[in-house]
Subunit: 322 residues, 2 copies
Amino acid sequence: MATIKDVAKMAHVSVATVSRVINQKGYVNSETKQLVLDAIKELNYVPNELARSLFQKKSSIIAVIVPHLTSYYFAELLEYIENYTVNLDYRLMVCNSQDDPDKESKYLKIFDQYNIDGIILISNTHRIDDYKKLNIPIVEIDHKLAEDIPSIQSNNFLGGKLAAQKLVNNGCKKIIHFRGPSDLVTVQERTKGFKSVLEKNQIFNFSYDLDFRAPSASDIDNVIKSNLDCDGVFCDSDYIAILAIQAIKDAGKRIPEDIQVIGFDDIEIADVLRPRLTTIAQSRKEMGEYAVTALMKLIHKEKLEPFDRNIDVKLIERDTTI
Amino acid sequence: MATIKDVAKMAHVSVATVSRVINQKGYVNSETKQLVLDAIKELNYVPNELARSLFQKKSSIIAVIVPHLTSYYFAELLEYIENYTVNLDYRLMVCNSQDDPDKESKYLKIFDQYNIDGIILISNTHRIDDYKKLNIPIVEIDHKLAEDIPSIQSNNFLGGKLAAQKLVNNGCKKIIHFRGPSDLVTVQERTKGFKSVLEKNQIFNFSYDLDFRAPSASDIDNVIKSNLDCDGVFCDSDYIAILAIQAIKDAGKRIPEDIQVIGFDDIEIADVLRPRLTTIAQSRKEMGEYAVTALMKLIHKEKLEPFDRNIDVKLIERDTTI
DNA sequence: ATATTTTATGTAATTTTTTACATAAAATGC
DNA sequence: GCATTTTATGTAAAAAATTACATAAAATAT
């Protein structure tokens, strides 16, 4: 591995001159510059990022904390975040908290040690004080843990409204809402939007709470079986919707003729399985890109406008609604 | 951020003594040690990993190169790799190549710059010479690019055999193999195992090649429709199997009575969708853990036995076979 | 009682890069 | 023609840690 000293020696200049060439800073004669460039090429030199990071107290690494990697929603979010991050010449440290506060703490310690430049938080483990102590720029996705931390999330309120409106327009009279954990703001917002429409139209509805990570298929089955007179189902994730569809089929009801189903997320398989799932699409692309953009603004101490961002959702009509 | 100097000052000792305490190396009086420990606690000191890495020419970071993040197989593999890596007090840099050689090259450059300690390669972009130039320990999953790079993969030959054996035992006479890209060793091995059994039993069969990332649903549809007399289908991924099942249903055939289907991978949803999918399970846990174990042995220059590792697969019988 | 080993701690070099400061030649201004 | 500015380059300190080497007191051996 060649160092800046090797380059300097080969080009018969000082390390400062080499550094000036690399960083395009300060005065350097064009002939000298060429000599340096030649030496760099000859030696296949790349500056050591650790030394650079050490000196500048930054690392060009940003960390993302996710609860897990295997659900499509997070995976795709991560895919966009990674891609956008690398485009901006930063690298990504993926931190899988597994919803385990201890594992998350372990990572928190690491951030300081590596001069991590910024954090994208998609975690459920609420250790906001620990994060603030770090003094590293943070943005959040799908959560809002503190007033002074910018957050990005879908317009969940609108999502709930769109789903309700569709079911109401299609004549549903008894609607089940298979909901995610009610302590999540995203879920609360969806519920608010959903209920607002149903209440205005005085449509009977109730909600049943499920875990996003491992929704209980048998619970869903039981709820469907004991409410065979329902005609609309709104699910807080496509995965839950897939389970609901199966429960409905098992109960001998037709989709969408007897019962209509709307999911949330628009994961890849929603368009593949039959019946193709009507759902509220969240744009992971926009969420991921805006999260990175916002974080970069914080890192460079630029003004962030708007501070919190709501990403538009869309109703994608497919085969599970009429 | 406190540094080792701050700790030294507070404990009234030299930085060398603090370093000895931290690294538990050399002599240090127990009372002095306690003073240092107290100062560390008081100042909330954590050693800067960048300075450490710079001096020791290692980083405690390992890189994983994956073609993408959104397929369940890779996501779960990554989940286990991340978990095991962090357990061993290393961090993970996730490099998403997106099957793009340029993006992969960009990452290759980074590895040297950060003194990356090791690489786990799950990429399809074959730039083996570029990797070797790096002089960083490498292990591969699902590929075998060079004799001197250890590789981990499922026993794909056995997987193919198990699937074929099952279909033959169940009386299938005409079998379609929906295959992955035939340039992958994994696919080649599966095919070999599969064919070996069918040829011995003189069962008619043919294969149709598909892309793993985006298998064409219409192609699958066409193949099924023009071979309605087939009675067994073996798919090189569960995702392909899901598409095949739909094509079969659309064609008005029953599963498993008319046509039996076996997938490969055992992804989460295979056990959720109806009919529940019979499949060859690959243990991502074992693959991931062994990959990390093997890489650690390379890093610490310990002997690796066996050099290449085949992970056992299992036939999981569910509803798509009789 | 002296020599040797063990324990204990400190000083300074080292890792690679950036940059403040120093120095001096060349170019420009009046 | 001399003062000032611009261009060009080098020296050395700094970032935060580890460690070889030096030094000396305490413990043990003979």
